[in-house]
């Protein structure tokens, strides 16, 4: 095989981890740069019955990219844009990219109108010229960690704050090329192949077929990234989005672009009580249609306290005035015109007053620079948490961050917030709650001070998972299952559903060669 496999231990070392705290093991790693090279590696390993873990930018936090022995196929060098097309039906541009291309690179290429178009077809170049001259098109999927790869985003059906309005990654994928474990290729476009009443017959590129039954479970009616996306008459493209690389290697992705909204502006409001913050949030959630916010985010008092402490002690977060001792709700709007901004602002004032907040004590960002400041505040929360954990880890290496990624249905938001607050209080655990409250999806991070805290925190999470599943929620709303949440997946859907998911995987990957240990434990793999 031409493609090089690196086997020196110290060179493989960095690739045995991702942003979760797991470290795995692997015998070797290769860096294909094209679909052909991916196939080459696939087949090479398949012949030797070697399991494969596929990696993108390794920004995931559930261990999806952490290898469980065997070989690693790292797609970070498979990172070019391959072409553009015009979707006449939906009147929008389409951009096809390799899986290793980063989300930030796509954004930059679109903003600068500067893709490397070497090797693009004539047709692609024509469409590209049109795109460049028109201007005003962007990729409106969103993710918090912008250095994630597009392939990774497809794998986990990634989302971010603005997915409240624009939808998760799934809503932006128009097509994929997938390589199955045996090297066969599958080219799928949205709207081409569908399941029928839970059965599917998927046609591959070489005109062979894969047939099978879809699992029969119903996904909860919440923002969800746990387990396979299943609907009885689903578009089969959706099988490969959010399947965490367990069904095949996504070798090429066609993304749908959207018209760039004219103005983005944001407002950070402060509340002295959770009750009031929730009242404001519920009012915001009623805004729909053209008035729907792009994002609604929540930060509890502990989050603001943490940042304020750093402002006062470490003099960091320059550019932000001192945060008040309060809870925060951030809302962002993407509006077509100025007059809409003014109308929305008047509405906001009323909503704030109704919720007992002072419109004079809010932080409004109408310029890109101010918006940038609010974005940096939002990112500062998880970053500061990581920093604190790192410090505590130095004293006690067994400690690690404990975080949840659960979402509940609309009518359970109040309940879940109370559940989090009261149970943390009762156990005397230091917790922070923040996140995409628009989707009823809050991350709760516990900062353990010692091993005891850590164990009690984990037990608390399990109790929460049980209650949230009961309430119709999900254990993973955006991070995926990876290696860390396999037990929760099982709790959520039950043993039968897991068996059905395994059976589905076997249709595509009979030998269980792809991403062992992700979504399913390895031992039971036949």
């Amino acid at each position: 095989m031409r493609l090089q496999i690196v086997t020196q231990k110290d060179e493989i070392l960095p690739y045995l981890r991702d942003e979760s705290n797991w470290t795995g093991s692997a015998e070797g790693i290769s860096f294909p740069q094209s679909e052909d090279e991916i196939r080459e590696a696939l087949l090479f390993h398949a012949q030797r019955h070697t399991p494969i873990t596929v990696q993108g930018a390794r920004t995931g936090i559930t261990g999806g990219a952490v290898p469980h022995g065997g070989q690693v196929i790292n797609l970070s060098r498979c990172n070019r844009a391959l072409g553009m097309a015009w979707d006449e039906g939906k009147q929008r541009f389409l951009l096809t990219v390799q899986p290793g291309m980063l989300f930030s690179q796509v954004q930059k290429g679109l903003a600068d109108k500067a893709f490397n178009t070497e090797g693009w077809s004539r047709e692609s170049l024509k469409v590209y010229r049109r795109f460049c001259s028109e201007g005003g098109w962007s990729f409106t999927a969103d993710i918090t960690e912008t250095s994630a790869s597009i392939g990774g985003m497809v794998s986990t059906n990634a989302s971010g704050a603005k997915s409240y309005l624009y939808g998760p990654m799934r809503a932006h994928v128009e097509g994929v090329r997938v390589l199955l474990a045996d090297g066969r290729a599958l080219a799928l476009r949205r709207g081409e192949q569908f399941a029928r009443a839970g059965n599917f017959r998927l046609r591959l590129e070489d005109d062979t077929y894969i047939e099978g039954k879809l699992p029969t479970y119903r996904m909860p009616a919440v923002k969800n990234a746990s387990g396979y996306y299943i609907k009885p008459d689903m578009d089969l493209l959706d099988l490969f989005i959010g399947s965490e690389g367990t069904l095949g290697i996504v070798a090429e992705i066609t993304l749908a672009l959207s018209k760039t909204p004219a103005r983005a502006w944001g407002l950070l409001a402060f509340f002295s009580e959770t009750k009031r913050a929730l009242q404001y949030v519920q009012a915001l959630k009623l805004l729909g249609g053209a008035q729907k916010p792009a994002a609604i985010e929540y930060f509890d008092r502990a989050c603001l306290d943490m940042i304020r402490r750093e402002q006062m002690e470490a003099h960091s977060h320059k550019g932000l005035p001192l945060l008040p001792a309060a809870e925060g709700v951030y809302v962002e709007f993407h509006q077509p015109a100025q007059v809409d901004v003014d109308a929305r602002a008047l509405q906001m004032r009323v909503m704030l007053q109704n919720a007992g907040a002072d419109p004079a004590e809010t932080w409004l960002a109408v310029t890109p620079q101010d918006l940038e400041k609010l974005i940096s505040f939002r990112h500062a929360v998880p970053e500061s948490i990581n920093r604190i954990i790192a410090e505590r880890k130095r004293e006690d290496p067994t400690l690690t961050k404990l975080g949840t990624d659960m979402a509940v249905p609309d009518d359970r938001l109040d309940w879940v917030l109370r559940l989090y607050t009261e149970s943390l209080d009762k156990l005397g655990l230091e917790g922070l709650k923040f996140g995409h409250i628009g989707d009823n999806h809050l991350h709760v991070n516990i900062l353990p001070t010692d091993g005891q805290d850590y164990l009690r925190g984990k037990a608390l999470f399990q109790e929460w998972a049980r209650q949230i599943i009961n309430a119709g929620g999900t254990v993973s709303a955006e991070h995926g299952i990876g290696k860390l949440k396999i037990a929760q997946l099982s709790e959520m859907y039950g043993a039968r559903a897991i068996a059905e998911m395994r059976a589905l995987k076997r249709c595509f990957d009979p030998l269980g060669a792809l991403n062992p240990g992700t979504m399913f434990t390895v031992e039971e793999n036949a």
Partner: protein
């Protein structure tokens, strides 16, 4: 009166001129281009129009109306009696200019006294030194100095007056220029003499360094410019050169000064960015504040200075003293290892053209690659970690 107009009969509404204006002064009024009062008559739009629909009438610089003046002056900025390096660079540049237009080069020294080493200014290119000494000039007083300089300029009428664009220089030069009612161009990176008119051509970065504007001072004298440190070349000292050091007596009693209560000098830890031979630079591409530590270790392992782009400083990942660029400091190391730096012209403006630049960036299209001596299109953190390992260090993972 200068005028610019769009010849509407010729304008086809193609809109090509709109983005060509650096000042955003062109918009569309219906189907025709319209130039607003924001226009500074720079003429960037004229060649862009394929239909010759933009007409610019500017008064020809009436240099023959300028008051008579001669000589190139260089302000010999000093700290604690030591001449600043930029002064020697300016003397070198003045010599180059004098070769194109014969001029006497005068170094102007202000201080509490005139030490012997003023002779070195002659060795470095000055034909003479004018020294004003007074106890009040011991402090670097940005209210008093401009008045002294202005009075000297009125008396001796130099044609050109160069000041180093240090923080001090950039404060006293505009006040002096305003007092003289003459033109001042800030932060020049290139100077030349226009062969036709004999005027000083002053080139400086604008728009954060993305544009280079060439400026003329038409009828006022002296033509004043502040010049970026570490851009011009000092001459090797030639002690065989001769020249006078002239003490100029001046009564400063009528001049207001500042009440400077205290002066503090920063302590330097490790190789200052000013002196380091190797500098490690970090930009947004390193990803997050967490990664800064890796680069601090790397800089320490290399014995290098640590620089940062403005983005990184604004984010609070490192403090302002590390900022290199347009609104930070200028450095001239032998080697600059740029990690995750996109290479904005603002940042690059702070780096000497002679530095060997190694750029490491995941973004293939980063502008820095166009100006790098060595290009590495790869993940900067991975390369930095590998480099640190090979130096025997430890990336100290969290």
């Amino acid at each position: 009166m200068s005028e610019i107009r769009v010849v509407t009969e010729k304008c086809t509404g193609c809109r090509l001129c709109l983005p060509a204006c650096p000042y955003g002064a062109i918009s569309m009024s219906g189907k025709k281009a319209l130039i607003s009062a924001a226009c500074v008559f720079c003429g960037a739009c004229v060649p862009v129009c394929r239909f010759d629909a933009i007409e610019l009438f500017t008064e020809k610089p009436a240099w023959d109306e300028a008051p008579s003046s001669s000589g190139i002056w260089v302000f010999a900025e000093q700290v604690d009696g030591k001449v600043k390096p930029v002064v020697l660079e300016l003397l070198g540049e003045a010599s180059a200019l004098a070769r194109k237009k014969a001029s006497k080069i005068t170094a102007v020294w202000l201080g509490p006294d005139a030490p012997d080493q003023l002779q070195c200014l002659i060795a470095q290119g000055a034909d003479e030194v004018i020294a004003v000494t007074d106890a009040r000039l011991a402090e670097r007083d940005e209210l008093l100095y401009p008045q002294v300089l202005a009075r000297l300029a009125v008396t001796y009428r130099p044609e050109i007056f160069l000041v180093g664009a240090t923080g001090f220089g950039r404060s006293i030069a505009p006040r002096a220029a305003s007092a003289l009612d003459t033109g001042l161009t800030a932060d020049c990176t290139r100077l030349d003499i226009d062969p036709q008119s004999g005027l000083l051509l002053q080139t400086r970065p604008a728009f954060g360094g993305n544009l280079l504007a060439t400026i003329l001072c038409r009828t006022r004298r002296p033509q004043m410019a502040t010049v970026r440190p570490k851009v011009m070349q000092a001459l090797p000292a030639d002690y065989s050169r001769s020249g006078n050091v002239r003490m100029e007596s001046m009564d400063l009693s009528g001049m207001a000064g500042l009440c400077i209560e205290s002066t503090h000098v920063n302590r330097e830890d490790g190789p200052g960015l000013d002196n380091a031979e190797v500098v490690v630079g970090i930009g947004r591409g390193i990803g997050s504040a967490r990664q800064v530590k890796l680069y601090k270790h790397l800089a320490a392992a290399l014995g290098a200075g640590l620089a940062a782009s403005r983005a990184v400083v604004d984010l609070g990942w490192v403090d302002y003293s590390h900022q290199v660029g347009q609104t930070g400091i200028t450095i001239a190391p032998k080697v600059y290892l740029a990690f995750g730096i996109s290479g904005s012209v603002q940042h690059m403006a702070g780096l000497s053209e002679n530095t060997h630049l190694v750029a490491v960036n995941k973004d293939e299209n980063a502008p820095i690659f166009a100006v790098a001596d060595e290009r590495v299109r790869a993940d900067c953190n991975e390369v930095a970690a590998a480099l640190l390992r090979q130096l025997g260090g430890d990336a100290a993972r969290e």
